[in-house]
C-alpha cells in the first residue's frame, strides 16, 4: 500500500471523530505551510446570540512570529494578549474580537475553553487576513479557517478549513491512528508530521 506524505490537522480530526460532545478545552491546530513566511493578521472573534458564552484562547503557540496587537480595527477588544490567555465575551456587546499581526509559520496551536456558559449560542472564529482591516482574506473566501459553535444544548460543532488530503478514507483513518500514537509521544507545542509508508 502506498501512502503519500501528508500533513494533517490530526488533533482536530480525532476530536471531530470523537463526536461533538462539549468538552473543555478544545485543542486545535491550524496548519499553514502555504503561508509560511507571509505577513498577515490573525483575527479571532466570538459572537453570541441570546447571552452566549465567555470563551478563552489559551496555550497559544506557533512557529511563526507574532506582531503588534491592533486596537483600531476591532469592534470590542478581547482582554489579554497572545500568546497569553485572551478572553472573549461581554455582558452587553455581541462580538468580542482580537486582531494581531503575524508572520505565518507552518502551524498554530491553541486551546479553546468555553466557560461561563448560560444560554443561547456562541460562535468562535479564527480567521486569517493579509490586511489589518480584514478586507483581504487568506486561505478561505472569508478568511475564516476555524469555526466552533457552542450550542444552547451544550454541544459543540467545529469545522476546520484545512484542506483534506488526497488519499482515501482508509489512508486517512490509518494516518489518524498513527497520529494518535504520535501525539502521545509529542512534546507540548511540537506539531506532528505524519509520514506514510511506501511500498
Amino acid at each position: 500500500m502506498k501512502f503519500k506524505a501528508i500533513k494533517l490537522f490530526t488533533a482536530s480530526l480525532v476530536l471531530l471523530a470523537a463526536g461533538s460532545a462539549y468538552a473543555t478545552p478544545i485543542h486545535e491546530t491550524l496548519y499553514t505551510p502555504t503561508l509560511n513566511g507571509t505577513a498577515g493578521y490573525i483575527y479571532l472573534q466570538n459572537g453570541t446570540i441570546n447571552n452566549g458564552a465567555t470563551v478563552k484562547v489559551e496555550n497559544f503557540t506557533t512557529d511563526g512570529t507574532l506582531g503588534a496587537v491592533d486596537t483600531v480595527n476591532v469592534l470590542n477588544l478581547a482582554s489579554g494578549t497572545l500568546p497569553g490567555t485572551v478572553t472573549f465575551g461581554s455582558a452587553t456587546k455581541d462580538v468580542t474580537d482580537y486582531n494581531q499581526a503575524i508572520t505565518f509559520g507552518n502551524w498554530i496551536n491553541f486551546d479553546l475553553d468555553y466557560s461561563a456558559f448560560t444560554q443561547g449560542s456562541s460562535t468562535f472564529t479564527f480567521s486569517f487576513f493579509s490586511d489589518i482591516q480584514g478586507l483581504a482574506p487568506l486561505l478561505t473566501y472569508n478568511g475564516a479557517v476555524f469555526m466552533s459553535d457552542l450550542n444552547s444544548d451544550n454541544s459543540v460543532t467545529s469545522s476546520n478549513a484545512a484542506p483534506v488530503p488526497e488519499p482515501s478514507t482508509m489512508l486517512l483513518l490509518c494516518a489518524g491512528l498513527v497520529g494518535i500514537f504520535a501525539v502521545k509521544l509529542r512534546r507540548k507545542g511540537t506539531p506532528v508530521e505524519v509520514v506514510g509508508l511506501t511500498a
Binding site: 459572537g47 453570541t48 446570540i49 452587553t92 455581541d94 460562535t123 472564529t125 480584514g134 459553535d149 444552547s152
Partner: protein, 579 residues
C-alpha cells in the same frame, strides 16, 4: 308690461336671489350632505340639514351622475332635537359598488350637494381597505387640510380609491357637544374639503370626551346617529342620550365601538353587550375602538379604567385597539409578562393612538418611565391611518400629513403624495405595522442558531437559524418571527416638523420599547436590523424559512443577516408560524 314679461322678470328675480344666496352660503342648505354607514352592505345613509325654508328635499342616486337608479322625497327628521335635519337610508344597492347621489330642494331643484360612495364589501369578502382618524376638533382649517389630503391620497389610483369607502373615527369630533361648535368646526361653509370628503366617505365612530357632557351627548347623537343598540334618553330630556356603543361588520372586519362615558364596568349593560358582541362575531378581524387609550404616549392621561377591558381583548382575540384623545400617533403594547411588569395589558396586541386628526398636536413621552408605559413607537404629527386587510394579513400605515396649516387652506404638493419642497400638503410614512393570522407552531419546533460571524468588510453579522420539526408535518410557507426586536424597516421617514421638543425628536422609537414603568426588562431590541427580513409581524421582523413546508423530523436552515451599528448583544426568541 304684459303678464308674460312680468313672470319672466319675477323668475329672473328669484334666480338672482338664489344666486346671491349661493355666493354667500349654501343656498337652501346649512349642512351639506354627508354619509354614515349603518349596515347592511346594500345601503348607505345620507344626512344633511336644510335652512328651514325648503324643508322637503329630494335625494336621487345611481351608478353614474344621471342618478337614474332611484329617488325619494325626504322630509325633515322627526327625532327630537333634529330640527331641519334630514336623514335617508338608500337601500337596494349592490355591495362593493360605486354609486353617485344628489340632494336637491324638491321645489326649486336647487342642488344642495352631490357625492359618490362605494358600498360595503360582500359579507364573505376577505379583503378591504379603509381609513382611520381621530381628534378632529377645534381647528377647522387643520381638519380641512387633513381631509383634503386624505381625499387626494385615496385618489392616487383605483387601488387607493378603495380607502375612500370608509373612515372609522375614534372621537373628539368637535370641541364641545353644542350646535355652534358643529357649525364653527365641522360644517363650516368655507371648509369645502371637509364637505367634499364627508360627502363621499361614510364616517363611523365613537364619541370622545369633548363630544360628551356629563356622560351624555345631544348634538353628537343628532349629527352622527349610528345604530346604537341601547341608546338611552336622559331622564327629562328629549334628545340627550348615553350608552352610545355599537358595532359593525365591514367585509372581514368587525369593529366594536365602546362609549367610555357610559358605564362599562363588569356587570354593566355595556360590558355585557361587549362580551356578547366579541364572543358572537364570526369575522376574522376584530378592532376595538374607544376614545381614551388604555395606554398611550400622552400627554392626556391614559384611561386606567379602560384597562379593565384588556382581559376581554385577550379572551376574544381582538387584533388591535384604535383610540385617540392624545393628539399624536403612538403604538403601545407588551409582548411578554416581563414587559407588562404587572400592568393589565393584553400581550401581543398593538394599541394605537391615532389622535392627530386636526386638534392641536401633543408631544409624546418616550421615556416609559413616567405616566405613559409600554410605548413602542410614537410621533408628534397631524396624521391618519390606513387599514389594508387581505385574507390573513392586515397592514396598517400611519401617515404624517406635512405642512398642515391651521390658518389657511393649503394647496396640495405638485408632486403629491410626495413633497415638492414648498409649504404644500404631502404625505410621509410614520410607521407600517403588519398583523397576520398565521398558526403559531413554535411548540413543535426546535430552533438553534449557529455560525454567527461578524464580517468587517460588509459590517454585517450573519448566522444560521435551523428549525427542526418535532411534530406533525407542516405544509406551505413557514415563517420565523424574531420576537424581541423592533422591525426597523417598518419605521418611516416622516420628518419632525411638528416636534416642539428642544432638541427636536429624531427617533420614533421609545426608550426600552414596550416596557412598563420600573421594569427590569430591557425592552425590544431597537438598533439591530434583520437586513434580510421578508416581512414583519406586530412590529417585529419576520423571515420566511420555507415555502414548501417542513416534514416531520426534517430541518431547514435559514440565513440571518443583521446590521448592528453599536455591536449590541443580539437577542431574540425565534417563533415559528405556518401561514
Amino acid at each position: 308690461m304684459n303678464s308674460k314679461t312680468k313672470k319672466s322678470l319675477q323668475s329672473l328675480g328669484l334666480v338672482a336671489a338664489f344666486s346671491l344666496l349661493g355666493t354667500t352660503a349654501f343656498a337652501g342648505v346649512l349642512k351639506k350632505p354627508y354619509l354614515i354607514y349603518e349596515m347592511p352592505n346594500t345601503t348607505m345613509t345620507v344626512l344633511w340639514q336644510d335652512n328651514a325654508v325648503e324643508t322637503t328635499n329630494t335625494i336621487s342616486w345611481g351608478t353614474d351622475t344621471s342618478y337614474a337608479l332611484g329617488s325619494a322625497t325626504v322630509p325633515e327628521e322627526t327625532r327630537p332635537g333634529t330640527v331641519n335635519q334630514h336623514k335617508y337610508k338608500i337601500t337596494g344597492l349592490a355591495p362593493n359598488t360605486r354609486y353617485y347621489y344628489q340632494v336637491a330642494d324638491s321645489g326649486s331643484g336647487l342642488v344642495y350637494g352631490t357625492g359618490s360612495f362605494i358600498t360595503a364589501p360582500e359579507e364573505n369578502a376577505t379583503s378591504v381597505k379603509f381609513i382611520g382618524q381621530g381628534d378632529s376638533r377645534s381647528q377647522p382649517f387643520a381638519l380641512n387640510n387633513l381631509m383634503k389630503t386624505v381625499k387626494a391620497f385615496s385618489a392616487q389610483s383605483p387601488d387607493f380609491a378603495e380607502y375612500q369607502r370608509l373612515t372609522i373615527a375614534n372621537g373628539d369630533w368637535v370641541s364641545t357637544d353644542g350646535e355652534s361648535y358643529w357649525t364653527s368646526e365641522w360644517f363650516v361653509p368655507a371648509m369645502t374639503d371637509i364637505a367634499a370628503y364627508t360627502a363621499s366617505t361614510p364616517m363611523d365612530g365613537v364619541k370622545g370626551n369633548h363630544d360628551n357632557s356629563s356622560g351624555y351627548s345631544t348634538t353628537f347623537t343628532k349629527y352622527w346617529p349610528f345604530p346604537y343598540p341601547n341608546a338611552t334618553l336622559k331622564a327629562g330630556s328629549a334628545a340627550t342620550y348615553n350608552n352610545l356603543y355599537w358595532s359593525m361588520d365591514y367585509g372581514p372586519v368587525h369593529v366594536t365601538y365602546v362609549d367610555e362615558y357610559s358605564s362599562y364596568a363588569p356587570g354593566s349593560a355595556q360590558y355585557n353587550w361587549l362580551v356578547s358582541d366579541l364572543a358572537n362575531t364570526t369575522k376574522p378581524w376584530k378592532i376595538l375602538v374607544y376614545h381614551e387609550p388604555s395606554y398611550s404616549s400622552g400627554k392626556d392621561a391614559d384611561n386606567v379604567a379602560a384597562r379593565a377591558l384588556e382581559p376581554l381583548v385577550t379572551q376574544y382575540n381582538v387584533d388591535l385597539i384604535f383610540a385617540g384623545h392624545s393628539h399624536n400617533y403612538a403604538r403601545t403594547g407588551a409582548y411578554t409578562a416581563a414587559q407588562a411588569n404587572g400592568d393589565q395589558i393584553a400581550l401581543n396586541v398593538p394599541h394605537f393612538t391615532s389622535g392627530g386628526g386636526g386638534a392641536p398636536i401633543y408631544q409624546p413621552d418616550y421615556s416609559n418611565a413616567g405616566n405613559f408605559p409600554h410605548v413602542i413607537t410614537a410621533w408628534p404629527a397631524y396624521q391618519f391611518m390606513t387599514f389594508d386587510v387581505n385574507g390573513k394579513n392586515l397592514t396598517m400605515n400611519a401617515y404624517q400629513v406635512n405642512n398642515v396649516s391651521n390658518s389657511a387652506i393649503t394647496p396640495l404638493s405638485s408632486s403629491f403624495p410626495a413633497a415638492d419642497g414648498a409649504a404644500t400638503l404631502s404625505v410621509s410614512l410614520i410607521e407600517q405595522v403588519a398583523l397576520h393570522h398565521f398558526t403559531n407552531v413554535a411548540a413543535q419546533i426546535t430552533a438553534t442558531t449557529s455560525n454567527f460571524v461578524y464580517n468587517r468588510a460588509t459590517k454585517l453579522y450573519t448566522g444560521n437559524l435551523t428549525l427542526t420539526n418535532n411534530g406533525p408535518a407542516l405544509s406551505g410557507k413557514i415563517d420565523v418571527v424574531l420576537d424581541g426586536m423592533v422591525h426597523l424597516q417598518g419605521i418611516g421617514s416622516a420628518d419632525n416638523e411638528y416636534s416642539t421638543a428642544s432638541p427636536k425628536v429624531t427617533s420614533k422609537i421609545a426608550n426600552k420599547p414596550a416596557t412598563g414603568k420600573g421594569s427590569s426588562d430591557p425592552g425590544l431590541l431597537a438598533n439591530v436590523t434583520l437586513t434580510n427580513a421578508t416581512g414583519s409581524n406586530n412590529g417585529e421582523p419576520m423571515i420566511q424559512a420555507s415555502s414548501t413546508g417542513l416534514a416531520k423530523g426534517a430541518s431547514v436552515t435559514v440565513a440571518l443577516s443583521f446590521s448592528n451599528p453599536t455591536n449590541i448583544e443580539i437577542k431574540f426568541n425565534p417563533v415559528t408560524y405556518q401561514e
